[in-house]
Structures are given as structure tokens and as C-alpha cells.
């Protein structure tokens, strides 16, 4: 599994660009104009040379290219501007590059040229570049070029890397690193529409939680794949936003499960020591002791069930590509083992049931903090929360067996968090993510 990571030793981007223009006269003029405005320019006349120059100069932050590159015979026999740009994500996976297309065409026609690019581009009128005055810091063209270079700088990427959450949940379901995600977002030419689609989808999932239909998170909405590409990236982004939604309602959960700062398994029916020591009524402790005495070894059974479930998942995943009889037999044996253990667990739960119901009633006399601390424990023993008055005030709906969805139920997602018409105002995003998205959707022209 790939660890989420960003390139550690950031390349310091300077104001360096690569100018790819086949017309010598125009190339010389633009080179001169940009240099006179404090920008270091590397010039090339062919796509092949451009790729070599980018390889040798990773500090370059911007590729400025013409679309049509003619050879000495006036033909388009070599790499064109979009051929070079389309190779960038794969050829230079460890840093970001902005791409600016110089064009003499009207704006609408220039945007159409973007169809030939697989990645996100920006456009600029060639006329503006040919007529730039020297030493003019306030010149719009110079400012735009500097912004495009700064956007690829590792200074803000570093800032995000340090403050960004590391979701163990995501790491479990995808081997895509955050850096790969950022790269995907950065080069995604349809980012705006992807972003809206992701936002709308996240909203639907959150609404499903509120209505109690939480199983859709894993079943119907998200489809994680081992090596997500294109559309799959959307699924991951949706998952991320749903997780971020929790940060605002339950910082402790955030610390435990999203940031991975603590390592408590939510599914283990263990009462945290600080919760146990804060119990006010002695009777509550007595009931807990009764339950513990009646169910020796129950945690081990649960662990064994979890272990078998993981193994079965692995076998089932493997089975899709490998349906040997040996695999089917192994699958069958493990399913039977799990089924037997499950039956044992259910019978213990039945024995415990009267004590559990007693505990549910007794917890009414405890503080809200204690009640919240007991939720995983009660869930383990099979409490139906809609029948427990005090629990109903804290959770929004029922159902679900995985820790993420269970906790979403407990935490709830406030309506006001997702009611804003502008998806950017939803509290589904981290401030760093918000800032980054604004950077690529707002500041820079599309």
C-alpha cells in the first residue's frame, strides 16, 4: 500500500519558463520581452527539444507553447504543443508544471484548441506577449505568468503537506497517494465540473446518512479500485469530503480515525479508562462487571471473526481473477469457521441481553460524555439505539456496521454544514483544501 506523501525535497521554483515557438522572429521577441521583465526564459523551436529541456531543468514552472509547430519544410512532422503538454504528467511525476498556450486566435477559438490537450491549460493572446513593455511589474501579462509559476511552487505544496490530514480509511481503500491526487486535480482539465460533481455526490451521501440509508457509502455510491484513474479519482474525493465533514462535529473522532493520531479500534468493545473512571453511579460499574463475567473470551471471538473477514475479503478479491477449485475450497472453509464463531457471539449476546438492557437504562443517569463513550460498547452488544431515549438525542439514524458509517450516525452532520448553495461553502472541506481549490478554480483563468 502506497503511503500518502508529497515530494519531500521540494524543488524551488524560480521565475523560469520554457518558451516553445517555431517562428524564430516571434520566439526572439517574446524571449526578449519576458527577460526584460525579470523572467528567465529557456527557448525551443521543437517539441522534442522542449521535452529534453524540461528534463534537464526541473526548476521550470511554466511551459509556454504555440499549438502548431512547423518544421523547416513548413510541415507539422514533429511533436506539437499539445503532444509535449500531454506527456508532462507521466514524464515529470514529481513536480507540477503550468501550461500556457499562446494563440493569435479569438478567445472562443482558443478555448476550442484546449480539446487537443489532455491536461489543464491556460491561454494568452500572442499579441500581448509580443507587445509587452520592459520592467513593468504591474503589467497584466507579467502578473499572470508569475501567478502561474507560483502556483507550481513547492512552498504552498509544502504547507498543505504539513497540515493535511492522513486518512487511514483512504489508505485502506486506495493506494493513491495524496500527491497523486493533487497531481490528478492539478492537471484535470475539467476540474470545475469534476468539483461540482464531487460536491453534489458528497451531498447525496451525507443526505443518505441523515435519512438512515448509510450502507450506500460502501454499496452503492463509492467504488474504490486499486489503481484509481480518471473517474475513480472522483470516488476518492467524495470519500474524503464525507470524512472531512466529521471533523467539524467530532474532533476526537477526527484525531482517532482520520488523522490517525490515536490507534483505538472503534469496533473493539472496550470502555476507555477515562470514561470508566468518570462513571458517577456505582450501579453502572456493577452491571458492567456482570457483563464481563458472563462473557469471557468474547473479545477474542470478535477478533477472530474480524481476522477471518479480512482473509475472506482477500480471497474474494483474488477470486475475481483466479477461480481455482483450491481457492473456492479455502473460501468455503473460512466462511464456515466465521459462521460458527458468529453463532457463538450471538448466543453470548443473548445471554448478556438482560444486563445490556439494564445498562442502557442505567446510563440515563450518567453524563453525556459517559453516554457517548459507551456507544461503541453498546453497539458491540447489539443495542438498538432507536429504543434508547438518551441515545436518540445523539444519533440521527440506525444501521451500518463499519466504524466510519457508525460514527457518522453518532456524530450526525449538521444541516447547516451542507445547506449553502455554493458547494465551496460546505464544511466538507479542509481550509487548506478550500484554499487550494480556490487557487486553481478562482485565481487562475480557466
Amino acid at each position: 500500500m502506497t503511503e500518502p506523501e508529497f515530494p519531500q525535497d521540494g524543488i524551488k521554483k524560480r521565475y523560469e519558463i520554457l518558451l516553445l515557438e517555431d517562428d524564430q522572429e516571434q520566439r526572439t521577441q517574446i524571449h526578449h520581452n519576458l527577460t526584460a521583465n525579470g523572467i528567465i526564459v529557456h527557448s525551443c523551436s521543437s517539441g522534442e527539444d522542449a521535452l529534453d529541456t524540461l528534463t534537464a531543468n526541473p526548476q521550470i514552472g511554466l511551459l509556454m507553447t504555440d499549438i502548431e509547430l512547423l518544421d523547416s519544410k513548413g510541415r507539422r512532422s514533429g511533436f506539437q504543443g499539445y503532444d509535449v503538454a500531454n506527456q508532462i504528467p507521466e514524464r515529470f511525476p514529481n513536480y507540477l508544471l503550468s501550461v500556457l498556450v499562446m494563440t493569435a486566435l479569438p478567445k472562443s477559438a482558443a478555448l476550442r484548441e484546449a480539446n487537443y490537450f489532455r491536461i489543464r491549460i491556460h491561454t494568452m493572446a500572442k499579441e500581448d506577449l509580443l507587445e509587452m513593455p520592459p520592467n513593468d511589474e504591474q503589467n497584466d501579462v507579467v502578473r499572470e505568468i508569475r501567478t502561474l509559476i507560483e502556483a507550481t511552487s513547492n512552498s504552498w505544496i509544502d504547507a498543505i503537506r504539513k497540515s493535511y490530514a492522513k486518512s487511514r480509511w483512504l489508505r485502506k481503500y486506495s493506494n493513491t497517494s495524496y500527491w497523486q491526487l493533487y497531481q490528478g486535480m492539478w492537471y484535470n482539465k475539467n476540474w470545475e465540473s469534476v468539483n461540482i460533481a464531487v460536491g453534489e455526490r458528497a451531498k447525496r451521501i451525507v443526505e443518505s446518512y441523515r435519512s438512515g440509508d448509510i450502507r450506500k457509502l460502501r454499496g452503492g455510491f463509492l467504488h474504490f479500485k486499486e489503481e484509481p484513474q480518471g473517474e475513480d479519482i472522483k470516488e476518492i474525493l467524495v470519500g474524503r469530503r464525507v470524512i472531512y465533514a466529521m471533523k467539524y462535529d467530532e474532533p476526537a473522532y477526527w484525531k482517532t480515525f482520520v488523522r490517525g493520531e490515536q490507534s483505538i479500534n472503534e469496533e473493539e468493545p472496550i470502555i476507555p479508562p477515562e470514561i470508566y473512571s468518570s462513571i458517577r453511579c456505582e450501579e453502572t460499574k456493577q452491571i458492567i462487571n456482570q457483563i464481563q463475567e458472563k462473557a469471557p473470551g468474547v473479545y477474542e471471538i470478535k477478533k477472530e471473526i474480524d481476522k477471518l473477514s479480512s482473509e475472506l475479503d482477500a480471497i474474494e478479491n483474488n477470486e475475481r481473477t483466479n477461480s481455482e477449485p483450491r481457492v473456492n475450497k479455502e473460501l468455503h472453509i473460512k466462511q464456515e469457521q466465521r459462521s460458527k464463531l458468529h453463532e457463538r457471539l450471538l448466543s453470548i449476546r443473548n445471554i448478556i441481553r438482560p444486563s445490556r438492557e439494564q445498562l442502557e437504562q442505567q446510563l440515563q443517569n450518567e453524563s453525556e460524555e459517559i453516554q457517548r463513550g459507551f456507544l461503541p460498547y453498546l453497539r458491540f452488544w447489539g443495542t438498538e439505539f432507536e429504543n434508547v431515549d438518551w441515545a436518540n438525542t445523539k444519533q440521527q439514524s440506525k444501521g451500518g456496521s463499519d466504524p466510519v458509517t457508525q460514527d457518522l450516525l453518532i456524530l450526525g452532520i449538521r444541516e447547516e454544514d451542507i445547506n449553502a448553495e455554493n458547494y465551496l461553502e460546505w464544511k466538507l472541506l479542509l481550509p487548506e483544501e478550500m484554499s487550494w481549490m480556490n487557487k486553481i478554480t478562482g485565481v487562475l483563468p480557466i
Binding site: R75, Y82, S108, A109
Partner: protein, 232 residues
């Protein structure tokens, strides 16, 4: 590099070379008519060769129906394999007339007379295009509106008209050439563009009586109109 084991499909006229082509490439791979566009498996084809000046199919009277076939293969069949363009004309003339030949790696040019072996060798030295190149070739060089737009914005005469303030009469010859090509495309353009295009063409016939700015303004309006038609 094309798949050397794949078939080479040929569009040719009923001339003396036809029988040689049939024996070299196989009876079922050489076509005299639009049968070329039907019932073929892309996977089994290494590439195509067309005779640019194909008289039998010439319903438009342009004399280069083979070039229309190249565009149809790209546009209608989304063919990414190379297409060898064979012609008795000079290469420079053909490239100027048909900008799709600007991509020699995908549309290699073979000056006739040439042997079937020459066709095969030329094809094997060329390359398939990716989806982005195909998109560009279709939009700029095959689709009539795209061709008109590219002609208006990239051809020598129209570019001179837009960027220079010299006496238009001195540029008459190059502008006339471009106007002639534009006229050939007019019938395939949307009605609104046709009307403005006809007006522009008739204006260009009176170069001596027009000042440069008037024709430039007309050209700019026409470019905007064609550009908008492309969006649709």
C-alpha cells in the same frame, strides 16, 4: 508503427495499375468505390492508401475525391491508422491545397508513378495518430466549418490581409488563391456563414476599390461567424 501483418486497404481508380494492386494487396482490399467505407475490421487493417485524384467518384467536380475519402475515413470511421496519399501532382501543391497533408507522419505523400511495394514501404514508415491528434485533424482539416476556419485564420493570403497594411493589390494573387479555396467550401457551410462568406468573396473581387481596413473588418466578422458555427 503500423501492424505489418494487417491488411492495407486501397482506394483506386479503374486504371492499368488496379490489377497490380489487386494481386499485391489482395482482391478484397482494393476498392474502386465507396465499398471501402463498409464492412471492414479496423483491427485487421494496417493502414490505407488512396488515389487523390479519383475520377469515378468525383461527383463534386473538384478532381480530388480521394482527399474527401481521407477525410471521411477520419471523420466517419475515426480511423487512426496512417493513410498514404498517392497523386501525380506535385507535393507542394497538394499540401497547400489540402492542409491535412501537413502531417506527413500520418498522411504520407507518394508521388506517382509508384509501385505497390512503394505504397507498402511508405505506409510502414508512417505512424498512427493518438486520439488528440485525430480530434485536431478532424476539426481542423476534415470538418468543412473547421477547414473554413483554419483557412481564414492560417492561410498565407488571409494572414497577410489581417496583419499587413500594404497595398492590397500587391497581395492580390495570394489572397485570390485563398478566396478560391474558401469559395469551394461555401456550399458545405451553414446558411448564415454562406451569406457572409459570399459577401466577403465578392468584396475581395473589388480589391482595387476597397481600402484595406474595410476588407479586414469583413474578414474579422467572417472569422467570428465561422468560429461561432464551430461551437455549435
Amino acid at each position: 508503427m503500423p501492424d505489418s501483418s494487417g491488411a492495407i486497404r486501397i482506394l483506386w481508380s479503374n486504371d492499368s495499375i488496379l490489377s497490380h494492386l489487386r494481386s499485391a494487396f489482395g482482391e478484397g482490399n482494393v476498392f474502386e468505390d465507396s465499398g471501402l467505407f463498409f464492412s471492414f475490421n479496423k483491427l485487421a487493417v494496417a493502414g490505407f492508401a488512396v488515389l487523390a485524384e479519383h475520377p469515378l467518384l468525383d461527383s463534386t467536380g473538384t478532381g480530388f475525391v480521394g482527399m474527401d475519402a481521407v477525410c471521411r475515413l477520419r471523420m466517419e470511421k475515426r480511423i487512426v491508422m496512417p493513410i498514404v496519399v498517392c497523386s501525380f501532382m506535385q507535393e507542394e501543391f497538394m499540401v497547400k491545397r489540402f492542409p491535412i497533408l501537413m502531417y506527413p507522419q500520418h498522411h504520407p505523400y507518394l508521388r506517382l508513378p509508384a509501385s505497390p511495394e512503394d505504397i507498402k514501404t511508405t505506409l510502414m514508415q508512417s505512424v498512427e495518430m493518438d486520439e488528440f491528434r485525430l480530434r485536431e485533424v478532424i476539426e481542423k482539416y476534415c470538418d468543412p466549418v473547421g477547414r473554413a476556419f483554419h483557412l481564414l485564420t492560417h492561410s498565407h493570403g488571409f494572414r497577410m490581409l489581417q496583419t499587413q497594411n500594404e497595398n492590397l493589390m500587391e497581395m492580390r494573387q495570394v489572397i485570390d488563391e485563398d478566396v478560391k479555396q474558401f469559395r469551394n467550401l461555401l456550399s458545405a457551410l451553414p446558411a448564415k456563414v454562406q451569406k457572409a462568406g459570399q459577401h466577403f468573396c465578392s468584396q475581395s473581387e473589388d480589391l482595387g476599390e476597397l481600402d484595406a481596413s474595410e476588407l479586414k473588418t469583413s474578414l474579422t466578422k467572417l472569422i467570428d461567424l465561422v468560429s461561432n458555427a464551430r461551437k455549435g
